[in-house]
């Protein structure tokens, strides 16, 4: 385990991308407490999602601002939403990340593209944008990896786009 932890740490240490994506990610990490991911209060989750989308464009369109580094089927077309997995799938606690510009405040946000795993692919609203996509040697930025680490199946149903924080 020690070797493993060291290896992950080393990988994290290398993350100082010119776009600041992972430098920023590092900052998000430091500020965040280790909280259970689920369950979240459902009503507030709905409210959040609705508020977050107000005036930001159409989350069912591949042009939606959060999808700048997207690759997969939009969960919003598959029984989920931009931040929610469809019923019966598992949201991966891991993801590749991108940096996308908000259309209203003009700020750059770190977006985590979390795969919803455990059912065969939904196939609807396939969307591929590759901003920030890098090969496997920059694993955290590779949108071709199946990001189901930490779930019990590497079959991807659809992909969400979760705001992780502001890029400083």
């Amino acid at each position: 385990m020690d070797a493993l932890v060291e290896r992950i740490t080393r990988t994290v240490a290398m993350r100082t991308s010119r776009r600041g994506i992972l430098g920023m990610l590092g900052r998000v990490l430091l500020g965040a407490a280790v909280l259970p991911l689920l369950p979240v209060d459902r009503i507030s989750a709905r409210a959040n999602a609705a508020a977050a989308d107000a005036g930001e464009g159409d989350p069912l369109s591949c042009d939606y601002w959060r999808y700048c580094g997207f690759d997969g089927s939009l969960c919003g077309c598959c029984g989920g939403s931009t931040t929610e997995c469809p019923p019966g799938t598992m949201m991966s606690p891991t993801s590749w990340v991108g940096t996308c510009k908000h259309p209203l405040d003009g700020k750059e946000y770190i977006i985590g593209y979390r795969d919803c795993c455990g059912k065969d692919n939904c196939g609807r609203c396939f969307c591929q944008n590759n901003k920030g996509d890098m090969p496997l040697y920059r694993t955290q930025l590779d949108n071709g990896v199946t990001w189901c680490f930490g779930t019990s199946s590497y079959v991807v149903n659809c992909t969400t786009a979760v705001k992780l924080g502001l890029k400083s």
């Binding site: 989920g80 019923p87 019966g88 606690p93 979760v162």
Partner: protein
Amino acid sequence: MRIRLGAASGIIFAAWLVAALSSAQAPPPEGVRVRELGPIGPHWVFLVSPAGADSELSTKIEIVDGDSLQLLGLLTGGLLSTAALSPDRKFIYMADTFYSRGSRGDRTDVISIYDARRLAPVHEVVIPAKRQQHIPPDSSALTITPDGRFLLVANLTPATSVTVVDVNSNKVAGEIDTAGCAGIVMAGARRFNSICGDGALLSIRFDDRGKAAASRRMARPFFDPEKDPVFSVPAVIGKRAYYASYHGMVYPVDWEADPPIAGAPWPMLSGEDRKAGWRPGGYQPLAAYAPGKLIYILMHQGGEWTHKQAGTEVWVYNIEQRRRVDKIVLPRPGSEVYVTPDRDPRMFVVSLPELNGPPSAPILQSFSTASGRYLGALDQLPGFPLWIFGPARAM
């Protein structure tokens, strides 16, 4: 040994990983979750896509809210799976076939039991590995008793039989020989009918141990398969079942009699219709609306043996008056028709891409049955849905 150790340490590692990566990536400030569904609504439909263009290993059940025309979620199963709902609508059953190496290897057939709100598997019953493999799927390959106690699974080896699964104990109760007759359509609490090759129905009563208790066959066929074959699945309305035939006849059967008793057939087509080449067809050409004593049938113009061709219109018949009462022209030809059983019914029609036409994705069209008005469509249906079903009765 290596592998066992690997698997065990894998579990530990996975657990560690979840923790490590949760902290490494931080819980996002937004609420993220896995959705759950509300109770199954009267206009929800389940579309069964047994095979896609590229693979036949993974059947999809697409759950659609027919009012908003939104895809609510998917179940993904195995090879040419079938599905059924529990009468209380709390569970969705799939009959699945899996091979240990995808398209080869050891075969395992199971009933997968899903919680209808979470769409998550809650139980599994391994069944004898001989369930019927057929395209299109239909309701006669997996049926639940009206009390929700037993699931009946059609087998084909190519001898026919039925596996009885006790859903209370999640065990296989028994197997019933259907003497070469095919399909399972319930006709009582513990009774179903199957069609035989000569056009007669076989009625089988069974007991709670999943054994056949009595088996009675119609004295004479109710249709002549040589002259005018019927589509497999009848519209059951009240105490009668109505079969539609390739040549456009309706064959009523007194369904509650044991054995069933043939009624007097009547034609769906006028002489003029016939001259114009109208004919029923599709993968699921017939639907029932019991409260209105109506049957709905997909019609197209074509020659003999076009019984799988998509319909351009849906013709509606009152089965008491034995006459056509409505005709709905489809915006796009459809291969499957289904009508919801509630008091404000919708008609749903699945349109598949044309076989030799330009590639396109299937769509689900919705109609008001009262006015015949087109209400909209859900596009980009995954795979090729070949069967629509819904809650059996209005609740």
